[in-house]
Structure formats: structure tokens, C-alpha cells
Amino acid sequence: MRDVSIIGIGQTPVGEHWDKGLRLLAYEALAAAMRDAQVERVDALYVGNMLSGELTAQEHLGALIADFAGLRGIEALKIEAACGSGAAALRIGYMAVASGMYDFVACIGVEKMTDQQGSTTTTGLATAADAEYEALHGVSFVSINALLMRRYMHEHGYKKEDFANFAINAHRNAVNNPNAMFPHLITLQQFAEAKPIADPINLLDSSPIADGAACVILAPTSIAREFTDKPVRVRAVAIATDTLALHDRRDPLYLEGAAISTQKAYAAAGVGPADIDLFELHDAFTIMSALSLEAAGFARRGRGVALALDNEISLGGRIPITTMGGLKARGHPVGATGMYQIVEVALQLRGEAGANQVRDARIGMAQNIGGSGATVVTTILERI
């Protein structure tokens, strides 16, 4: 197995790109990453995407984007794992370079969500859940998370407002991210008064639907410095799974897939939670932030929310999370999100995070979650 590094990164702003289709968004992120890496060709292209078929009637994204980007002929595939698709594409690219099959691989995450709206998008997102035993009963993806949040509050004795700092912190960090969808501050009062979507989840617990694309270029670490002064080494990228349906879990409040995925990544990288300088977690909803922090070993069961209450999640805190705004405020173009997280960790490790720079960041982790925890991709990156 060869050591693998990220030699280039690229991203489009996250938002409502009325003037750009899926292929153009993907191309812009790919072109930016290839410019950053100073490469003119790649050997293979892996495209993480969840909903192109549902929302834009377009599948077959590998060939589509390879052709559109002037790379006709290369190996190219779409990788799908619900909202975990973006980081899953990194896993496939990592295997291709580590195995020695290819030297230069592009991994893209792309999602085009605003060509549809309202119930069509809600239906599409629900395909991450069990179609026969969850979605058929009118359960939306938001309400699945709401079931978790209500039970968590019941078992651990938290109030709704206790979750506010996850959203407030994410928005504070988005202010300095030029690619964020909502770069503005929110207050505790706004959080408390936000419109309910699926009680107890309200609008400010929830990440927004968006368009966007992000991309990294991978190469063997042995030649990475020929292309960049700031290679970012992929210490681990690990996938684990759990049941699609919440009702099939042994304990719905324990993200077993996240725990297994994190343990695999820690073991592969030879590190533990104390070594992680920042953590881009999957804050699709505030409850997911709490459960991820617990599953990844940063808090005991039922104490994930306490980390937010104690402000340990801010840029200067014990474990900074969502340092560029997270899903909540950078935006959540579902199949692209995992790649945004990885690009943001790379920015931090390259020392290019501007006002949001985490001091002396050397090792960063990203965790991308598909569905309510059925696919979990954990990536550990290191500055070298």
C-alpha cells in the first residue's frame, strides 16, 4: 500500500445556483482543484452524489462529468451512499492510489438540489431511509432526526435551547467563509423562536438544502511535493455501516456505525481523540452533532450537548467543530457535503483558513454520515 496525499483542493460557493447545472458545478470544482495541484490530467474520476436521478433526472455522472471536463476516456464512476456520498468518493479514490493502480485521481462531491423544491426534495431525501418501513409511513428525513432528538432530551434531561450553541457556533464560523451559504450570526432568541419543521426540530436546528461541488486531487505522497508545497496526507479514510432504519438499531441513541468508522480510522492512523485538532462533523441537525461527538469519543454518552453548552466546540475550544460553518451555515448540498468537509480540513491544515484558522492545526478529522447513521465515512488528515 502506498501513502496518499491531497495535492489540490477546489470548491464552488454553496448556495442556490440558478444559473448553473450539475455538470458545470462539478467542472468548476474539478478545474479549481486541478489548477491548485498544477496537473493537467488525472487517471480516474470518482463522483460522489446522492440525488441526481431523483432531482434532475440525470444519472451516469462519471462519464458525463469526465466528458464535460475534457477528460473523455478515463475511468469515471458515480459513488452513492446517501448524504455520505462525498466522502465515500474519497475512499474509492484513496484505494485507487494506495493500491498503485493510479497516480492521479480526482474525487468530486456534487449536488444540484434547487432544480426541485418542497415535497419533491423532501421525498428524495427520504430515500436515505427504509422505503418500505419508514418512508411509506410518511416519515420525512427531518422527522427521523426529530425522533432521535426528542428521545435524547427525554433520556438525558436536556431542554431544546441546550442545542442552540451548535447552530450559533456554526453561523459564527460561516461569517469568515466566502463559500458559505449563510455567513451571518444568529442569536439564542432567534433559535428559540424559529419555525418548527418536525417538532422538536426547528429551522435553526436544520442545515439548508443547497447546490455545490467540491473536489480534491490525490497522488502518492512520495511525489506530492513536486506539485504542491503543502501536501495534506490522508492518514485514514474508513467506512462503516449500520441499519438503514432507526427502528432496527440496538440502541437508536448510539451511532454504532459512527463509532465503528471512527475506531477504524483511529486505528489506521494510529491516533486517538486527544490528537485531533479540529473535527468537521456532520451537523445536518443539532442532534447529529451531539451523537457524533459521543460516537467519536469526544464526550461520554449523553454529554455531547454539554460540550456545546460549555463552548468547547468553538475555534479556541477543546475540540473545534464546523470551523467553516458546517452543514448548518456553510450549507448541505447532500452528496457534496463530505467533500466540502475534507476540503475545509485541508484548508485548516494548510494554514489557509483565514480568520477561522485553528492554531497549530496538524491533524484534522472529518465525519460524513449517510442517512441517520447507516453509512459513516471518517477521514483523518495530517499536515506534512
Partner: protein
Amino acid sequence: MQVSRFWRTTGQRYQLVGEVCPKCGTKIFPPRDVCPACEAEAKTPFVFSGRGEVYSFSTVHNAPEGFEKYAPYTVALIRLEEGPLITAQLTDVDEKDVYIGMPVEMVTRVLREDGERGIIVYGYKFRPRREAQTQPLALAA
């Protein structure tokens, strides 16, 4: 909407037909043919009583396609008395009266309709348990 897709799960939706593991006795719903507890093959049918209690609940305001006209409605995870959790809507109850631990029982209701010419999908929902009722509702196996 495909008829066969809904026809093949009528046993589950009308009668809560699951499975019981012949090796460890775990009751399984929905059926999956492999026991989630001991991983033995489990194909023995088992009909659930339909009684349980609310494990968690939420009211849906932004409904998926086909459910818009029912919104807002309350969905729940129900802990069946035989063990498994099940996802279903609550019915015949005001949302503000629902609480975690509330005893409920299965009833059959319309889940969704696919327009004037499409399939009407029936299935289980759960309502507050009526103590006077001594017979389980889903006996018809």
C-alpha cells in the same frame, strides 16, 4: 405505483406478521430472514399483538410527496411489547396529548392515496390503547 410492491407486504401492513428466531427466540419486525440478535436464519412467521408504547414521536409539518394533505401529522417509534421498535403514525389522538411511554395499540388506516385512479395503501397506525379491549386487534393470522 406498482401493485406487486404493495401486495407483497400486506401481511406486515395489515397484520404485523414478523418472524421469530428458532434459535434464540428473538421476535423480529419487519421480517428479515436473518436474526439481528444471533444471525441464525429466522423464517418462522410470528404475528405481533399490536400493543406497545411510544418510544419517541414528532409532528411532521413539511410532508413528503403523497402526504401533503395529511400534514401536520404525528409519527412515532413504538416499542412493541414483544421487543422490536416500529415506525408508524399515531392516530385518533391530539399531538399535545402524546407522551413518551404512552400505551398504544395498532389499528388499520389509509396510509396514502395515489390520486383518483391509483392504489390506496392501507397499513398500521397506532392509537392510544383502550384498556377495555382485551383482545389484540391483529389476530387474523
